[in-house]
């Protein structure tokens, strides 16, 4: 069957502003990945079409983009997940600078991720064996550790759109990942980073991030746990 992709294009060497271009591609069935249709465009029709991709099954986080108005991974979105009776609109992740076509500049996103000290801090001498942790405590981290840093959440968040200094849901989720790790000793330092107007308190529980997350992480729930921890710290 034939499917039309309406893709936002922008090449800074050539274009003064983004525009849309339509391509008609051939899809085997409704289970075709959007990524494979983009690759078909690139390999058959127009080699200049530019996007990031790698694993093609939702674990590397390279191909976050906006598909029919929703932030998704092109590799874990199938035709049947979108309305393909009309042209499928494919745009770069919103609110961050475009480098070319669907490739965006993630440097600010990574900077905010690094700001929460995204690594285990434990200065006590380690035991000879592993640090024991109950399965219950370990599983508290699993949801947050699923994050693939694709940027779908942060770039879907209205608070991020209106406040460029807002640290954003991905970084807050990462802060949770370590604050609630029973093996970690730097919770306070991390809480200091997010206990600011541009930190956790900027989250207004709009839930866009939850809807956008391709790994189905309930990010807002994790942020609310962080806020609760911050409030308890105040007391």
């Amino acid at each position: 069957m034939k499917v039309t992709l309406r893709i936002q294009r922008y090449n800074p060497e050539r274009d003064s502003e983004p525009y849309y271009q339509e391509f008609i591609v051939e899809a085997g069935d409704e289970k075709e990945r959007i990524l494979d249709l983009l690759l078909q465009v690139k390999w058959k029709f127009d080699g200049t079409l530019t996007f990031r991709r790698s694993c093609a099954h939702g674990i590397c986080g390279s191909d976050g983009m906006r598909i029919n108005g929703k932030n998704r991974l092109a590799c874990s979105s199938l035709l049947r997940d979108v309305n393909f009776k009309k042209p499928i609109v494919i745009e770069p992740l919103p609110s961050i600078p475009i480098i070319k076509d669907l490739v965006v500049d993630m440097s600010d996103f990574y900077k905010k991720y690094e700001a929460v000290k995204p690594y285990l801090v434990n200065n006590s001498p380690p035991p000879e064996h592993e640090r024991y942790q109950s399965n219950e405590d370990a599983e508290k981290l699993f949801e947050s550790a699923k994050c693939i840093l694709c940027g779908c959440c942060t770039t879907s968040c209205p608070s991020s759109w209106s406040d460029e200094n807002y640290i954003g849901p991905a970084a807050l989720l990462k802060a949770y990942r370590f604050v609630f790790d029973t093996r970690d000793e730097a919770a306070d330092e991390r809480l200091d980073v997010v206990d600011t107007p541009d930190g956790a308190w900027r989250c207004h529980t709009i839930f866009n991030c939850v809807e956008a997350c391709p790994k189905e992480i309930n990010i807002t729930w994790h942020i609310s746990k962080l806020k609760k921890r911050l409030a308890e710290r105040e007391m």
């Binding site: 080699g47 991709r53 939702g58 070319k100 990574y110 285990l120 380690p126 370990a138 550790a145 840093l149």
Partner: protein, 585 residues
């Protein structure tokens, strides 16, 4: 052209590259170059676990792990190296845990372990000769072990302020006489050429799965490191050994971890038979990957497979009888893949699977300290190191056991890092040749200006389909001979490739064209290695030579690029504790 000088340059930011970077001491400069942002590396796709004889769930020992690895390798693995890996495994896992890696846990709070293909223990622990049964040796974090390991290593690199050059695509080594003096790279964002002058270079560039049509590997798995070495007159080792993972998701090749069988999943043919009982009576579905892949293809060839709508055939992986908690808590990703990509509900129906190109057992020959060697005597190439899938130590021989790849990354990544740290203390920078970047500049100029009629996408698909057809699970002289001619012709046609994108910003069209060159460079030694090895061993299965031939072929192949037919040399295998025996499970 922009020039840099670093004591150490590491190419690749997957498990091996990141683990090595953590060993470079303060006071020395180290750059890690990666063509993708580090957490996008393919290590993150590993699912089922990492092997170590922690003994957290039942009695285990490093000797048993070593024996299983030697036997799994069909005795081609170097036993000195395997001993190092099996012994170091426990320390390496504990270290990952201390670094913050989140693991699934036992009721006592220890790292949880599960069964995996080819990992066994004697049924009676006091009698080493008793029947071997499956053992819980794979340390895991649900079915996202590689993902959390990659993130943990990257996090520790941030903590240690490692300097990354993300989205830098390395195109060549810089050789200064017989030493390595750095690398040439292209900044993807700008097309600018950078020359990195270094005392030590480590290639941690991963595998080549994209040489084949059906693969579990990421699009980035284009064999770059193999190509650099091969084109600089250095050998590649045991390239004929390509692991086909038995359970790739039908049509797509996406990995469905062996953990599914480790947790109790079984394979079924179109008669509803659990066919692995016939091929491996004791460990059944948990036989090593080469055997299970051959069994699946045999079932299909003998008419007991299922015919797919795409013309290819598959068998079924059934996990529907497993408790829901096991599927949800221990195998959430792979059950999700079946639902997302095939619309199959694994709690109720079996998953269609077929073998998928998964892992390179061969690669850049190294010592046990990741030092690259140039000949059968093991002469070292000063300043050049390799680790991870790109390297061939060889701990996997002719067939790798599941869970040993993540282990290989952290054991030999660390050893390589330590060897580099020692080397750079006294080493001087080798002279940087004036023409270091010339070959890269010429290649890029040719591609940017070419008006040839060949296109990257079509040529790559042709390569991948032919490799799948003629150099797959089963091989024979006729197919391989045909393929040697094919690869020659593909190489010629590659000269006629032209690209659409002539721009200087994020030119992935150019990058894919360069990667296609690497794929062709990598396919050549795979084909020639497979043709010359007239025996069946591990993952290399010759229909015309169905038996293992230890007299002639208990040897590593080394393969060198020449202007004509590649040159083949043989290198001895290290045999210490375990004499070769018939391999039965």
């Amino acid at each position: 052209m922009i020039k840099h000088q670093y004591d150490v340059v590491i190419v690749g930011a997957g498990g091996a590259g990141l683990r090595a970077a953590l060993e470079i001491p303060e006071g020395f400069s180290c750059a890690v170059l990666s063509k993708v942002f580090p957490t996008r590396s393919h290590t993150g796709a590993a699912q089922g676990g990492i092997g170590a004889s922690l003994g957290n769930e039942e009695e285990d020992s490093w000797e048993w792990h070593m024996f299983d690895t030697v036997k799994g390798s069909d005795y081609l693995g170097d036993q000195d190296a395997i001993e190092i890996m099996a012994k170091d495994a426990v320390r390496a896992i504990i270290e990952l845990e201390h670094m913050g890696m989140p693991f699934s846990r036992t009721p006592e709070g220890k790292i949880a372990q599960r069964k995996f293909g080819g990992h066994t223990r004697p049924e009676d622990p006091n009698d080493p000769d008793s029947k071997r049964i499956a053992v819980k040796r794979s340390c895991y974090s649900a079915d996202r072990t590689g993902h959390v390991m990659l993130h943990t290593l990257y996090e520790n690199c941030i903590k240690q302020k490692v300097h990354f050059f993300s989205e830098f695509f390395v195109t060549d080594l810089v050789m200064s006489g017989k030493s390595c003096a750095g690398v040439v790279a292209m900044d993807i964002a700008t097309n600018e050429i950078h020359v990195f002058h270094a005392k030590a270079v480590m290639l941690a560039t991963g595998g080549y799965g994209r040489v084949f049509r059906i693969t579990s590997n990421a699009h980035v798995g284009t064999g770059d490191g193999f190509s650099f070495v091969y084109n600089n007159g250095l050998p590649l080792q045991d390239m004929e050994f390509v692991q086909f993972h038995p359970t790739g998701l039908w049509k797509l090749g996406i990995l469905i971890s062996e953990a599914a069988r480790g947790e109790g999943g079984i394979l079924l043919n179109n008669k509803g038979e659990r066919f692995m009982e016939r091929y491996a009576p004791t460990v059944k579905d948990l036989a090593p990957r080469d055997m299970v892949s051959r069994a699946i293809i045999t079932e299909i060839r003998e008419g007991r497979g299922f015919k797919g709508s795409d013309g290819t055939s598959y068998v079924q992986l059934d996990v529907s009888h497993l408790p829901k908690e096991v599927l949800n808590d221990k195998l959430p990703e792979i059950t999700g893949f079946a639902r997302t990509y095939l619309g199959v509900e694994p709690t109720k129906e079996p998953i269609p699977v077929q073998p998928t190109a998964h892992y390179a057992m061969g690669g850049i020959p190294t010592t046990v300290d990741a030092e690259v060697t140039r000949d059968k005597k093991g002469t070292k190439v000063t300043g050049l190191y390799a680790a991870g899938e790109a390297a061939c130590v060889s701990v996997h021989g002719s067939n790798r056991l599941g869970t040993n790849s993540l282990l290989d990354l952290i054991v030999f990544g660390r050893r390589g890092g330590k060897a580099i740290a020692k080397f750079i203390k006294d080493a001087e920078f080798p002279p940087l040749p004036e023409d270091a970047a010339d070959r890269t500049i010429a290649r890029i100029d040719t591609l940017m200006n070419s008006k040839g009629k060949e296109k990257v996408g079509a040529l790559r698909t042709e390569l991948q389909e032919k490799m799948m057809e003629k150099v797959g699970v089963f091989r024979n002289e006729k197919d391989l001979t045909e393929m040697t001619a094919e690869i020659k012709s593909l190489r010629e046609r590659y000269k006629e490739v032209s690209i659409d994108d002539k721009g200087k910003i994020f030119n992935t069209d150019l990058m894919e064209a360069l990667e296609l060159g690497n794929l062709i460079d990598t396919a050549e030694p795979i084909i020639h290695g497979a043709l010359v090895r007239q025996e069946s061993r591990g993952a290399h299965s010759r229909e015309d030579f169905p038996n293992r031939d230890d007299k002639k072929w208990l040897k590593h192949t080394l393969i060198y690029k020449t202007d004509g037919k590649p040159k083949i040399d043989l290198k001895p295998v290290s045999i210490t504790r375990f004499q070769p025996k018939e391999r039965k499970y």
